[in-house]
């Protein structure tokens, strides 16, 4: 059973490119179709894993593992999910130090870096759209970004303030 869990999550970790949500259909197929969890259970796990901090894929693999085989299961599943990434990146890191001063590699990365910035800037807008941020609410992300960027405020404080603000607004103000 532990081997099956390990292999399943190893597969999930290997074949998902581009982040946590891309692995969702794969996880669902492996976990639900094997009869490990019902579809309803899986959707519940998904929504809770989403509201937890940390890496989504790791969260969901620990949840599934724990549900099936308690702490050991959680460890095995998390290990399976993390291992492919770990080995691939380690190989690249070992190799990249040999070539990073190569003129060609430098040229490639000169072109690549501004594109990476764009890759991060776009989700900022798409997230704003998907959570239906109003113009009035826009003040929250603007202030948060300025505090971090210009005043070097730790994002941890921003997150704590956001949680406290959300609690006050959601539980006190919105009710009246």
């Amino acid at each position: 059973m532990y081997w099956t869990l390990f292999w399943t999550f190893l597969k999930i970790g290997t074949f998902t490119i581009g982040g946590g949500y891309a692995m969702l259909p794969l996880i669902q197929r492996e976990v639900v179709d094997r009869g490990w969890l019902t579809k309803e259970d899986f959707i519940d796990l998904f929504s809770v894993a989403q509201s937890l901090p940390g890496i989504f894929a790791v969260n969901i693999s620990i949840f599934v593992g724990y549900k099936l085989k308690k702490i050991k299961g959680g460890m095995v599943c998390a290990f399976g999910t993390v291992l492919p990434s770990f080995l691939i990146i380690l190989t690249i890191a070992l190799f990249f130090t040999q070539v990073q001063d190569n003129v060609w590699v430098e040229k490639i990365f000169k072109g690549l870096r501004p594109a990476v910035v764009a890759l991060i800037a776009v989700p900022c807008l798409t997230t704003a759209r998907s959570i239906k941020l109003t113009y009035k609410e826009m003040i929250i992300p603007v202030i948060a970004a300025l505090l971090i960027w210009q005043l070097s405020v730790s994002p941890v404080y921003i997150i704590l303030a956001a949680i406290i603000g959300g609690l006050i607004y959601g539980l006190k103000i919105k009710r009246h």
């Binding site: 074949f15 894929a57 949840f63 549900k67 000169k110 870096r113 501004p114 991060i120 948060a144």
Partner: protein, 183 residues
């Protein structure tokens, strides 16, 4: 000292990393690049690019890579760098593990909990700010070396935003563009 600091920083990232990989980037940058100067903005950007292109979650990929690079930049041999990778990867997962264990005990209460949903009223808009901060912190003279950088940025932005180009394809195209432009 760097070992304890890496452990502390990555436990923090694992514990406060709400809102997915991109929002997590600002947490990583704030400590790894800005506060402790373990790696440069350029190295960080390169690591994000490589983490995007390789299988697995960006949070794990970048943790493994940054653990390696930070130790390497501190002057340690490759064997110790691998240990650095292990440390950061383990540290970023540990809070998840403890949280899942804690929550599993009162799972049904956590689901649709009014405190959790209230907290997310604040967390959701803040996530947008965290992602924006990650992008803004990368917009410096290390990544934008001349006017050509801005052209690449604008093209990449439009291709991703309007034409929904796949991130991996975009990174490959930008790399080719770099080879041609800086020939």
């Amino acid at each position: 000292m760097i070992w304890l600091q890496l452990l502390y920083v990555y436990l923090k990232i694992g514990l406060f990393g709400f809102g997915g990989g991109y929002a997590m980037l600002s947490l990583i940058q704030a400590d790894v690049v800005e506060r402790y100067n373990w790696i440069s903005t350029q190295e960080f950007t390169d690591i994000v690019a490589i983490s995007q292109m390789t299988p697995g979650p960006i949070g794990i990929n970048s943790a493994t890579y940054i653990g390696y690079t930070a130790i390497q930049n501190a002057g340690y041999p490759p064997m110790m760098c691998i240990l650095g990778s292990c440390l950061t990867t383990f540290a970023v997962c540990l809070p998840s593990f403890l949280l899942v264990l804690a929550i599993s005990y009162f799972f049904s209460k956590f689901k649709n909990n009014k405190y959790v949903s209230a907290a997310f009223l604040g967390l959701r808009p803040a996530t947008v700010g965290l992602i924006a901060a990650a992008a803004l912190m990368l917009m410096n003279s290390q990544n934008f070396i001349d006017y050509k950088s801005f052209i690449i940025f604008a093209c990449a932005f439009i291709l991703t935003w309007k034409f929904k180009l796949h991130p991996i394809l975009l990174i490959v195209l930008a790399g080719i563009a770099g080879l041609i432009i800086y020939w």
